[in-house]
C-alpha cells in the first residue's frame, strides 16, 4: 500500500494573519487514483490542492500537520529542493488556459519548457516530445499543432495543450484546478474524457478540483467535500453520491435536480414579440433571423454555447445593440432599435441584469445610492417615500436593511447580484432580461437566486428572459426554452418538449453533454460518440 501512496496530507492547518484557511485536513492519493475536491469558492479547494506541492498564497503558511509527496516529507525542505520537486514530481492544470499561456511563444516551446530546463534539447527533440503528447491528446494535425501560437487554437484545444504540458515531465501527481469550468458543455466532454484516459494510462495520481458535483462524480474515485476550510465529508464517489451523510453534502447532491420542470403558470398572452431580428457588429452578423416570444408571467430560457449570439440578441432587445432588420414589440408598441429612441416608460418596463455584478455596481456608490437612483429617476421618490420603498426592496431580495449604507466591495458575489436585482425591481418593470446572472456564482448561491426570481415572478408579476449556458438550470426554472446556435434560433418551444423531444441535432447533442451524477455516464457517452 505505502509503495503506491503518492500524496498524503495529514492534519494540515494553514493560517493567514487574520484567519484559518484550512483546518485539520487529511487526504491521500494513491497511484492511478483520482481524488475529487468539491466545494464553493472560498472553501479552500485550491489552497488544499496547492499545498500538496507546498505552494501557498502570500501571507499564508502551514502551522500544523504534514505533507508527504512521493515518500518525501515536504515541510522540512528548503526552497531549492522544493523547486526540484515541483519540477519533477507534480504538475498543475489551471482553470483558464488562455491566461496560463504566454501569447508570444509557440505552443511546443511552452509545452516542453520543463524538460528543456533540465537538459539541453534541440528544437527537433522538443518538437518530437510535444508531438507525441499532442497525438495522445487527439489534437488536430499533431505534427504542426505546436507551431501555433495560443491565440490560434480554440479554448478546448488550449486546455488540452495545457494537459500536455502537465504530462511532459511524467509527474507522479497532477492537480486539475477546475480544468473545464471555462469550456462549453460539448467541449467539456472531450476534455473530460481525455483527462480520465490520461490519468489511467500514465498511472499517476490526480487531484481534481471542481464546484460541479456531476463532473467530479464522473472523474474521481473518491471525493472530498470542503467547506469554509474544513473537510465536511470524504468517501468513495458512489457512496458519497448515493448516500451522502452530512447535511451539506445532501444539499449538494439534491442541487443537481430531480429533473422536474417549473410549473406552468404563465399565460398565453404575448408580452414581448421578437420577429426576424438580425444583429451585427461591423461586418459580422452575430444574430440571424431570430424570432422569440415571451409570454407574460413566464420565463423564457435562451440557451446556447458561448458565441452563439444569446447575449447579442438580449442586448438588441434592451436596445443596447441596434437590430438591423426585424421588429421588437412589447405588447402593442413597436420598440425602437436603440434605447435612446425609446420612451421613458419603455425604458422603465424592460430592465437588464448583467452577468458580473462587480462591473455592474459602481464601487463608489452605496447600495442606497444604487437602488435609490431608479426610484427617484423613474418614480420621483425622495425622502421618506424612497426610504420606505428601499426597505421593501431590501426585504424582497432578502438582505438586511442595514446593508443600504454599505459599499459593494463589502458584499459577497451573490449579495451583489441581489442588489442588481433590487435595482431593476426599483423601476417596477414588466420584463427582466437576465444575462447569465448566476454563472459566476456557486451552485447553492445560484439556487437561492433562482428561488428569489421564482418568487418575484409571482409577487411582482414579472416576466423573465433568462439567458444561460446551463441547461439544467433552464430545465428547472423556465417555462419555455429557445436554443441558439451560430446566431440562429434552432429550437423554440415548451421547456418540457424541448428537453424530452428535441427536434434539432444540436439540441440533442447539448442535452446529452450535460454532466450527470449517474454512474458510468461519461464512459457511456464516449461509447455513444465513438
Amino acid at each position: 500500500m505505502s509503495g503506491n501512496r503518492i500524496l498524503s496530507i495529514d492534519n494540515l492547518r494553514v493560517e493567514t494573519q487574520t484567519g484559518v484557511l484550512l483546518d485539520d485536513v487529511s487526504i491521500h492519493v494513491d497511484r492511478g487514483e483520482v481524488l475529487g475536491i468539491i466545494g464553493e469558492s472560498g472553501a479552500g479547494k485550491s489552497t488544499l490542492a496547492l499545498s500538496s506541492i507546498m505552494l501557498f498564497k502570500s501571507g499564508c503558511r502551514p502551522t500544523a500537520g504534514s505533507i508527504t509527496l512521493g515518500g518525501q516529507s515536504l515541510m522540512e525542505l528548503g526552497t531549492a529542493e522544493l523547486e526540484t520537486i515541483r519540477r519533477t514530481k507534480a504538475s498543475y492544470v489551471a482553470q483558464s488556459a488562455a491566461a496560463a499561456f504566454n501569447p508570444f511563444y509557440r505552443l511546443e516551446d511552452q509545452v516542453t519548457e520543463i524538460p528543456a530546463m533540465a537538459q539541453k534539447l534541440t528544437s527537433a527533440q522538443r518538437r518530437r516530445m510535444a508531438t507525441e503528447l499532442f497525438e495522445e491528446l487527439q489534437l488536430p494535425d499533431p505534427q504542426n499543432f505546436g507551431r501555433r501560437y495560443p491565440h490560434q487554437v480554440s479554448g478546448g484545444q488550449l486546455q488540452r495543450a495545457m494537459i500536455a504540458m502537465a504530462l511532459i515531465n511524467q509527474p507522479d501527481l497532477i492537480i486539475f484546478d477546475e480544468p473545464t469550468t471555462a469550456l462549453d458543455v460539448t467541449t467539456q466532454i472531450e476534455v473530460l474524457r481525455l483527462i480520465k484516459k490520461v490519468a489511467s494510462t500514465h498511472n499517476c495520481g490526480a487531484l481534481y478540483i471542481s464546484h460541479d458535483l456531476a463532473v467530479v462524480s464522473q472523474m474521481a474515485d473518491r471525493i472530498v467535500v470542503m467547506r469554509n476550510g474544513k473537510m465536511v465529508e470524504q468517501g468513495p464517489t458512489r457512496q458519497l453520491v448515493d448516500h451522502p451523510q452530512t447535511e451539506y453534502a445532501k444539499r449538494l447532491v439534491a442541487h443537481q435536480g430531480d429533473g422536474s420542470y417549473a410549473s406552468t403558470n404563465g399565460s398565453d398572452e404575448t408580452l414581448l414579440d421578437v420577429r426576424n431580428v438580425d444583429v451585427g457588429y461591423g461586418g459580422v452578423t452575430a444574430v440571424k433571423d431570430a424570432s422569440i416570444r415571451l409570454g407574460s408571467g413566464s420565463v423564457l430560457a435562451l440557451v446556447g454555447e458561448s458565441g452563439s449570439g444569446k447575449t447579442t440578441l438580449a442586448r438588441s432587445i434592451a436596445g443596447l445593440q441596434p437590430a438591423r432588420t426585424g421588429e421588437i414589440r412589447m405588447r402593442d408598441s413597436l420598440l425602437a432599435p436603440l434605447v435612446e429612441r425609446r420612451s421613458f416608460d419603455q425604458r422603465r418596463l424592460i430592465q437588464y441584469i448583467h452577468q458580473l455584478p462587480d462591473l455592474a455596481l459602481n464601487p463608489r456608490q452605496t447600495i442606497r445610492d444604487v437602488v435609490g437612483r431608479p426610484l427617484s429617476y423613474f418614480h420621483g421618490l425622495r425622502g421618506t417615500g424612497a426610504e420606505q420603498r428601499l426597505r421593501e426592496l431590501m426585504d424582497a431580495i432578502e438582505l438586511p436593511v442595514a446593508y443600504l449604507d454599505r459599499y459593494p466591495a463589502s458584499l459577497s458575489g451573490g449579495q451583489k447580484q441581489r442588489v442588481c436585482i433590487a435595482r431593476s425591481l426599483a423601476a417596477k418593470p414588466d420584463i427582466l432580461i437576465c444575462d447569465e446572472i448566476t454563472s459566476a456564482l456557486d451552485p447553492l448561491v445560484e439556487e437561492s437566486i433562482v428561488k428569489l426570481l421564482t418568487r418575484l415572478i409571482k409577487d411582482e408579476g414579472l416576466s423573465i428572459l433568462f439567458i444561460t449556458h446551463n441547461l439544467g438550470l433552464a430545465l428547472r426554472f423556465s417555462h419555455k426554452t429557445a436554443v441558439m446556435q451560430g446566431g440562429r434560433i434552432v429550437e423554440h418551444g415548451d421547456t418540457r418538449a424541448v428537453f424530452e423531444q428535441p427536434q434539432s441535432d444540436y439540441t440533442k447533442s447539448l442535452i446529452r453533454a450535460v454532466p450527470q451524477l449517474r454512474e458510468g455516464w461519461l464512459d457511456g457517452f464516449s461509447a455513444n460518440a465513438a
Binding site: F344, A360, L361, P363, A409
Partner: protein, 269 residues
Amino acid sequence: MSNKLTLTVSLAVLATMAAAAILAPVLAPFPPNEMVHAAFDAPGVGGVLGADGLGRDMLSRILYATRYTFVATLIATTLACMIGVSLAIIAGLSKGWVDIVIGRAVDILMSIPQIIFALIILAIAGVSLTTLILTMAVLQSSTYYRVTRPIAGDLAAMEYVEVGRLRGERLHWYLFKEILPNMVPSLLAQFGLGLSSAALFISSLSFLGIGIQPPAADLGGLVRENALALSTGRLTPLIPAFCIALFCLSVNGIVDWLVGRFSDKPDVK
C-alpha cells in the same frame, strides 16, 4: 521620512504660506511698492529681509508675491483640471468623431511648447492677470485630458455606465455620479503635480517679463528683479526662489498622502 511626518510638515508649510498670502496686507510692515529703504540695504539694516535695488522692503514684497502666485496657480490649475477632465469624460462617453476631434485638438496643443504658445497668446491678447490665468488653464488642461481620457474610456465601458444608459441618464449624471468619483485617486495625483507645474510656469513667465507686470510682482518676478544682486554676492533672489521650491515640495507631500489614502477601496462603516 514617514508618510505621516511628511504630511504634517507639508501641511504646516502650506498653511503658513497660505496665511502669509491671505494676511499680506496686515503682516507686511511697509507698502510693497514704495521705496522705504536705501537701495540694496542688507537684511536687518533695512527691514527683516533687506531691500531691493529700488529700496523697496523685501519682506513686504515677498508676502504680496506669494499672494499673486497662490491665487494665479490655484485658479489656473482648477480651471485646467475642469476643462481637461470634462473633455476627457465627454470624449470617453461619446467615442466616434467627438472623441477624434477633441483628441486631435489636444494633440495640436501639446505639440507646441507651452512657453512659446503662452508668449504668442499673451503678446496678442495683452498681459493681464485674467488672460494669464486663462492661458495657463487652457495650456495645462491638455495634461489632465491625457491622464484622464484612458481612465474615462475604461470607466465608460463599465456595465454600471450601461445601466445608466438604459435608464436614459444625462451627461451630468455620468460626470458627477458614475465616472468622476472613480477618477479621484488618479486626479489627485495629477492635480498636485499640476499645482507645482503651474506655480513653476507662472514663475517662468514672470521671470521672462510677460507674467505679472511691475510694479506688482509674483515670486518669479521677484527672482528676476533681484537677479542682478547675485553678482554682488547677495542672496536676496534666492529667497523667492526658495519659496517656490517650498511650495512645490509641500504640495507634493500632501498629494502623496492623499493618493495613498484614496487608492484603498471604500470600506464598511
